[in-house]
């Protein structure tokens, strides 16, 4: 059974392709890309963008241990709705993924229940305690594509150095959650005028910036790759820019909420605007956008963090940090980056596909003959209002419910199988 995705605007960042053409898919792979192709079935993609399946290298699927928030199955459905065909799952589950057996658990559960590709990251330190190294070589063999203690930073600089050295040897990138826990202690949102008005303890930008700097320098010392996760500050972007200039092997990402919302979103004690790092201010948004423009930032990742309604419907300072993001990533990118003209559509696709794939050396993020048929088709002009019906996740902790966005995922194929079709 072959399928021709016809007349779409095909964008493949790896090859620089950006033109109207057909894509022929069969037996799970892309067979051909060209004009006037023929196949058993045809999907009319006129007016739509056809790009590699999106790649999100920071998601929390909560399995094992927190299945009421999300499972690998529901998380993959959320991903499919968002046009994401490959995810890298974080390791702060319960128990945390710090041994090969647990990595195998995740890959098995993914094989059994996930409709898209799930690649696990594993912990860098045992139990995420920041003290002893995990058996990274074995973790890699079991299928881990990165190491990270995401959810936490590694407090001891000495231990972080060794983590980076060892991960470097094993060939796994370290995905760095940068947070000075002393400076951010007790804080629940950005330290600024909104936290002052709300009477809640704030988290200054320095809590992130100081550790971004430290972690990059230790990576340089260790001659290892490091990837800076979820940057929220202008200072953070600049630190990465300077590091890249001096040749450090660093990559960096930011999440859609950091360039579409500010700390003002938390006013009224809105727990759907509570996450770490926190939403900042307009000048940080501008700096992040500039980071996408000049290549300082390599990819967009959502840090999809589901929490149940009961968990979020509590006092602001008691609510867990995090929001979901898979289903809105593409629309937010189109609405806030492409439509206002900050970056081109092609660059946006790159940030959502190849950028993340490269960080973790994944076979994903490209559209080429003989490559896997992971394809996302979206309408870059369609406007829609976010409702609960748009979420595939078990959780609905999103600050975008009720927002009207531009850019809608229409068809998603993973290994040639249709995993999502927009039914609106």
């Amino acid at each position: 059974m072959s399928l021709v995705i016809a007349n779409g605007h095909v964008v493949d960042p790896a090859s620089g392709l950006s033109e109207t053409m057909d894509v022929l898919v069969a037996d799970g792979r892309v067979r051909e890309m060209g004009k006037s192709l023929r196949g058993d079935e045809t999907l009319d993609a006129r007016g739509l963008v056809v790009c590699p399946g999106l790649v999100d290298i920071q998601v929390h699927f909560r399995e094992p241990g927190f299945e009421s928030k999300e499972t690998i199955a529901s998380g993959s459905r959320a991903a499919a709705r968002g046009g994401v065909t490959t995810v890298v799952t974080m390791a702060n589950t319960n128990p945390p993924i710090d041994n090969a057996g647990l990595v195998e658990l995740v890959t098995r559960r993914a094989r059994e229940t996930a409709c898209i590709k799930v690649r696990p990251a594993a912990c860098a330190t045992k139990g995420m305690k920041g003290e002893e190294l995990t058996e990274m070589a074995e973790l890699r063999e079991a299928g881990a594509v990165a190491v990270t203690d995401d959810g936490r930073d590694i407090r001891s600089s000495a231990v972080m150095r060794r983590v980076l050295e060892y991960a470097g040897m094993v060939g796994l990138p370290y995905l760095a959650h940068c947070q000075d826990e002393d400076l951010s202690d007790g804080g629940t949102m950005h330290e600024g005028r909104h936290s002052m008005l709300m009477g809640v303890c704030g988290i200054p930008r320095e809590a992130e910036e100081i550790r971004i700097d430290r972690n990059i320098r230790l990576a340089e010392l260790a001659d290892a790759r490091i990837h800076i996760q979820h940057i929220s500050t202008a200072g953070g972007v600049q630190i990465v820019r300077d590091a890249k200039k001096r040749g450090a092997r660093v990559t960096a990402e930011s999440a859609p909420h950091y360039w579409s919302l500010t700390a003002a979103a938390a006013m009224g004690f809105n727990t759907h605007a509570k996450m770490y790092p926190p939403l900042r201010e307009e000048e940080d948004i501008a700096a992040i956008i500039a980071g996408f423009q000049d290549g300082t930032l390599d990819n967009i990742a959502t840090d999809h963090a589901p929490h149940t309604r009961a968990e979020k419907d509590v006092e602001f300072q008691l609510a867990p940090f995090g929001i979901i993001g898979l289903e809105t990533m593409l629309a937010l990118t189109v609405t806030h980056l492409v439509k206002p003209g900050h970056i081109t559509l092609e660059r946006a696709v790159e940030l959502m596909t190849l950028g993340g794939a490269r960080v973790c050396s994944l076979e994903a993020g490209c559209l080429r003959p003989d490559g896997p048929a992971d394809v996302t088709v979206f309408d870059p002009e369609e406007q829609w209002t976010v409702t609960l019906a748009d979420f595939g996740s078990k959780s609905a902790n999103s600050p975008y419910i009720g927002h009207t966005l531009t850019g809608r995922v229409k068809h998603v194929f993973c290994d040639g199988r249709p995993v999502h079709t927009d039914n609106r």
Partner: protein, 326 residues
């Protein structure tokens, strides 16, 4: 200016001063004297039937005698029934959510729920989804609206007495708030209220305890007491808490006293007519000297008396304005 206000109260709850308009604040201040008169009745019954048959629940997660007593007395003077739910016996200690505890209280047909909680935003969480009128009696560091209302009422009465003008307002009045502003819900509510009423506010305290962001809102920030008191019409002293010392927020009480205590010596920098206020309870000789606390400039006891009148006014406005989700 009695007798001519046409404003109508429309809010279901009182969760903060930040949302109130100047007009709404003045509605409470203008209504307070009548309610104060009830408590002043020389003979006869110190009650009016405005909340007769209604149930006021006092839900205090944080221990508090004075604020709770003030609300209880205010409710009783309005002929309401009161029920106190103490934090140590409430189900929240047993892991019940805030929403569920409030629903249980509402099952008792509470008309007004007065809530004090250690988490900022707790009243907001409840106000939107529950039937009873919610009054915030203090939520973490965020707001303590009835305190600000009674403070402004006390300040206004003092200005009216001093100038002999029964219609005097707080516009242009200079208020110095001294102490741990960062952790003070009283300071936040007072600042909101005073700015809306046109007063000029200066805050003074150690740099570790005074948020600089206040300058954005036109509030003066200084770390020198003399400067703050120089032209102050009102000196508002905040309570200093010993726990802050342990968290590296200031080195010692000794140094705090030396730099920021309001006493006869430091008050020399203030104009003769300046009044001294404090939300209570006072740490005598710590942030405020006993001499000044008991002295002629202090209106601290009037604040307490006014507190009952203001809380009566608030409860009446909330419960009897027809703007409820009944």
């Amino acid at each position: 200016m009695a007798g001519t206000t046409h404003a109508v109260w429309t809010r279901k709850d009182l969760v903060g001063i930040a949302d109130l308009t100047r007009e709404e604040i003045e509605m409470v201040l203008d209504a307070a004297p009548q309610f104060g008169a009830v408590s002043q009745r020389a003979s006869g019954i110190k009650k009016v039937p405005l909340l007769q048959g209604r149930l006021v629940v006092l839900w205090f997660h944080e221990p508090s005698t004075r604020t709770r007593s003030s609300f209880e007395l205010a409710a009783k003077r309005l002929s309401a029934d009161t029920l106190a739910v103490a934090s140590s016996t409430s189900s929240s200690v047993k892991g019940e959510t805030l929403h569920d505890t409030l629903a249980n209280i509402e099952a008792m047909r509470a008309d007004i729920t007065v809530i004090r909680h250690s988490c900022a935003g707790a009243p907001h969480l409840l106000a939107g989804s529950h039937r009873s009128h919610i009054i915030n009696a203090g939520d973490g560091r965020h707001e303590h609206p009835t305190q600000a209302l009674l403070d402004c009422y006390t300040m206004r009465e003092s200005v009216r007495r001093r100038t002999g003008n029964p219609d005097a307002v707080l516009d242009g009045i200079k208020v110095a708030i001294v102490g741990d502003v960062e952790h003070s819900r009283v300071a936040r509510s007072d600042i909101h209220a005073l700015l809306k009423l046109g007063a000029k506010v200066t805050v003074c305290g150690p740099s570790t305890l005074v948020p600089r962001e206040l300058e954005r809102y036109g509030v003066g920030v200084t770390h020198r007491l003399k400067e703050a008191l120089e032209d102050a019409d009102v000196v508002y002293s905040l309570r200093i808490q010993l726990e802050r010392q342990a968290k590296a927020l200031f080195p010692s009480l000794r140094e705090y006293i030396k730099l920021f205590r309001i006493d006869a010596e430091s008050l020399k920098s203030a104009p003769d007519h300046a009044i001294v206020m404090h939300p209570g309870p006072i740490n005598r000789d710590l942030e405020l000297s006993a001499e000044v606390a008991d002295g002629p400039r202090s209106v601290i006891l009037q604040q307490v008396t006014n507190g009952v009148a203001v809380r009566m006014a608030v409860m009446h406005l909330l419960a009897n304005s027809g703007g409820a989700a009944r």
